[in-house]
Symmetry: D2
Subunit: 353 residues, 4 copies
């Protein structure tokens, strides 16, 4: 019998991406779709590509059918939504995967710092759940996702940068304080809600950096890099940019090579770090890789290099922000939590072109 999943926030890009993936998953069925807006209509009215594949009616959060026990509940919701009701879901026997920052920090102080940076209330509403939570980037090997009750699904920029810098942090390949992440994202990372910045005419033929005064992903990235490095603090310079594409994040990760570190050591360290990780592939700089090559898949393609002329590490990380950067990672975490093979439902390439 299939496991039963509920998706809260079914109407957004994070919800629809997960719906598409669960439709292909042999072990889990979509049992309940919940959203705040556009309720009472089949999801296939909102997303006509789903017609006939998934015609479930979207329910409001307080619908009785939404309060049944489920095996897994996904919160594809803004910050501070999941933390309000995760306990109820746990009590009914579910495992919880939350897309927001609510469970990315298993430490109230780190949460408070993160929340403060983005103008949120800094008090976590369910601190008692934090010890039950894990950070959902399995490739880091930091937390035990399989046994966690709650997983904080990572942010899309964080996935991109952490996969690009984790081996460097773990093995001290670069000098402290020298890390830079220059990140280019497609527009879908901003979600489904219309906004002047993401209006087609404002965005087409436009490339821009934004939130230069501070970005919430830095806290998440720095916390994990510090853990990997065994340090209290790990600072990076982070420059988020938007490019006129719908999907994809390309992050150029730089850092000054530590004394004596060679190009060969760098490549060896990255290769080792991701050995047996099914979704990360290492490429040589002679191979032409772009975000189109991971579009629609849960993979991260890393072009690993060290510019020996200038003494710089340069790793280029390519993901699909809606897959490995969001719904794909969520499914991967679900597989680990429910005991399915890690790649189940994620075992196919995207479509090209």
């Amino acid at each position: 019998m299939k496991k039963r999943a509920k998706i809260v926030g079914a109407g957004g890009y994070g919800g629809v991406g997960l719906t598409e993936l669960l439709l292909q998953h042999p072990g889990v069925e979509i049992a309940c779709l919940v959203a705040k807006d556009e309720t009472g209509r089949p999801i296939s009215d909102i997303y006509p590509h789903l017609k006939g594949w998934c015609d479930q009616v979207v329910l409001p959060p307080d619908a009785p059918e939404a309060s049944q026990p489920f095996d897994v509940v996904f919160f594809s919701t803004p910050d501070r939504v999941g933390m309000r009701t995760a306990a109820e879901e746990l009590a009914r026997g579910a495992r919880v995967i939350d897309y927001s920052g609510d469970f990315r920090f298993n430490n109230p102080a780190h949460y408070a710092d993160y929340a403060g940076r983005i103008g949120l209330d800094t008090t976590h509403l369910a601190p008692e759940l934090l010890p039950l939570s894990a950070y959902g980037l399995p490739e880091l090997g930091l937390d035990d996702i399989a046994s966690a009750k709650i997983v904080g699904n990572p942010g899309c920029f964080a996935v991109s940068v952490l996969l690009g810098l984790a081996p460097a942090a773990r093995h001290a390949l670069i000098e402290e304080g020298s890390a830079i992440a220059d990140c280019k994202t497609g527009v879908s990372g901003a979600g489904k809600k219309p906004n002047a910045s993401f209006h087609f005419p404002a965005r087409h033929e436009n490339v821009n950096a934004y939130r230069l005064t501070g970005h919430q992903h830095v806290r998440e990235i720095e916390t994990r890099l510090a853990a990997l490095a065994g340090m209290d603090d790990y600072r990076i310079t982070f420059t988020p940019q938007v490019v006129p594409a719908t999907r994809g994040i390309l992050s150029c990760c730089y850092g000054r090579l530590a004394p004596g570190v060679t190009r060969e050591q760098v490549i060896e360290a990255y290769t080792e770090f991701f050995r047996d990780r099914p979704f990360v592939k290492i490429f040589d700089i002679s191979q032409p890789i772009g975000t189109a090559h991971v579009r629609g898949s849960n993979r991260c393609y890393l072009t690993v290099d060290a510019d020996t002329r200038t003494g710089m590490l340069r790793v280029i990380s390519h993901i699909d922000n809606l897959m490995k950067g969001q719904a794909g990672s969520a499914l991967q975490n679900m597989n680990l939590m429910l005991g399915f093979p890690e790649t189940m439902g994620l075992d196919r390439p995207g479509q090209y072109p």
Copy 2:
């Protein structure tokens, strides 16, 4: 045991699209990839998104391994390639599916007319195979694809327009000679080969009509509409256009309503014609449909309408030119020819956005 497929023309968009689909098909395996260029390298070197999914080496056409018996052979090749070697493949026991115009006309005179319009030699090189061939658009119900030895896979514009006008032609809903197909295609329809017209800066922020002096798809479309209408001749005005998107064809099909035909009769006729056809969905004009909703799927979404104020039929047909317009139809035809369920390997929505 899985059936074994060979793809000739594996390096183009038609080949890679089919490769992606066959990787998901439970009953058929990719046994051989053949191309003229870039041979001797894994296909995943040419298309890095396939790395690990399909790393077969691309063989030249004369490689010994390419001359084994296969269950099905796809010619994703230009005109007049398949007709040269299809007989050999049949002799080794294969069924053949050809993407070009070579087997779209089971009549040498029609072929000659088609070939002449596009400047090709008008002599079919394998006329003895024509009686064994069928036109590969199952929704028309014209030919017996399941029993054909060779299927001429339809052109992408033809799929789009034929699905949009077939019920009108079959049921004489519109006046003779009044049909117009105003078709907008994404750029991938032109294939993988670079060209001044499809160079990114020439194409971005540009919409243009082309080949206004005549277009090869008209012959194919008119032949089938005439068959549906039971007429000798069925003329349409056809205006191909390119829009700055990679995938998708949106065709607006018009025709003057025959005397007495009502809007209700039109909708009824379309609904009936495509009843039980798994890949065609009929929509009302109140539902907002775009090419994005069929991107990546084998579906055709039809918005069916009649403008009673002006007495015009208006049907808007949406397909993904690389799926229902090419590789998806090829897989659908393969399923019918090899006895698999028609939707096998095509049973999922695309990704949105």
Copy 3:
């Protein structure tokens, strides 16, 4: 001394386009910028490309400086704004150019029909001004724009279709009731305000038809075609579509050729109709024209053809929706009203690519 212009609705695309043009006009200066939102800031804060070229502060409509006499006042505003205050501007000596439907019909009944179709109050608020108004498409030669006190600047689709069909209507080249306009627009035609349909991820890689149940431009188009044809009524089938580009409208205009009309007569009629019209150029179907070739200019490029095989007129009309479709036409009308050469400030090509 330069004439002084006021722009009401300065913050939208229609306002900024006019600002760009007036900055280049030797005879007119921007004296006042008015908007409802984002007031109190320099326009160059809202549109940073104007920095140093135009740093005027945007005023609210009721600012005292906005109530001075101006030589020309542009209402780049939604329907039913201009009609409320045009009389005041006239009283202070200004000529008025309104971008909305308020002054496109110099007949209250036509206005009521138009307004009703788009759900507006059908009562014109300034019917006494209608006799002073003209329809602002000089190429039609229907109204005396130079002497009008008020010009109703035409809608972008209307410009595109009217230039494509005017000679056919005037010279009865096509049969009554057979005209079809299949129109593809870039997204900027929808204006600056964000909207779910024009959100980048929803629009990129998407082509769709919309408002199939009725579109306000039809009334405007039909009124003018009827006038050209000397008929009471002139019906067209109109299909608006959006393509993933910022600028440009490509309209395919069809109609059944009247008995005996030849291709040569069609080309001759179009050539004659637009002889000496500086902004319309006629092209042969052998010349590859796209919307990119009019991007940034006030021109309309017409590809004129008749498909003798099917007996159809086919004219493809290309404009930049923000130039000839909006601000460019407004400047052209201003030139005629204020006695400047018609092409002043519009005498340059756009930039390619």
Copy 4:
């Protein structure tokens, strides 16, 4: 009487961009268009947007009319074309502006290094002209462009990065060897010639880094930064990337702040360096700037910042690669060489959106 200009390489993007600009220049006329391909046709056949504005026939290089004396000759040609015939043009009295690397280094050894990196013959064919040449980036204040006989027009990436790092190099704001330029360019930088990498379907929805093994612009950038810094050598890490836009370069320039350098000092240094430079504008990180805001203009918009938390300089440089990155700089250099005001013909904003 107007000065007379000849453009060699008139058929490419660099040539057509200059043609558009010269058409607006009050002091210079286009006297001769030369190209290798598509000769014998009016330039407006190749670029239909120029119809009526510039219908001159494109001549082959050896046409007699192309060997007359001109006041200025532009070589919008690949490397090693201009150096072959520049001497002849000088002998006939012309000033020369060359778009390639031929005259960007007034030192044969630097040229040899540059040429070697990109696989060219390292011997300069006209070393006697080098002392007559200047590097054409007036904002650097390094060379006397006004008095030079030949100007080497800078590369587009070089313009972007040099304007972003010049003050830092001149005033030693950052530590030696720490400079990084992470550069994103639109596709038109690759020119008009079709290529598999710039084929629309390969490029749309794709972002990729390229030429990671070495890029010719580094030599050009490092030479000028070294001159500004008064050093023999100045190394930067350079990562060129392509984004799916036609125009625009956004470069993120980083460097470790030298001990004691404050954010205020950085902003002051940049402001001072570009004081009175008409085409460079400095912005604060709170102002949202993107490449769309310089599209079509000759400006460079710099967002100047220092991340004091990490001790990094971060300057974001925005240009239109075909304007300040190519034809616009060429016109600016021409103005300086021929004694016109520096901004003549460049004194207008681009069009938005």
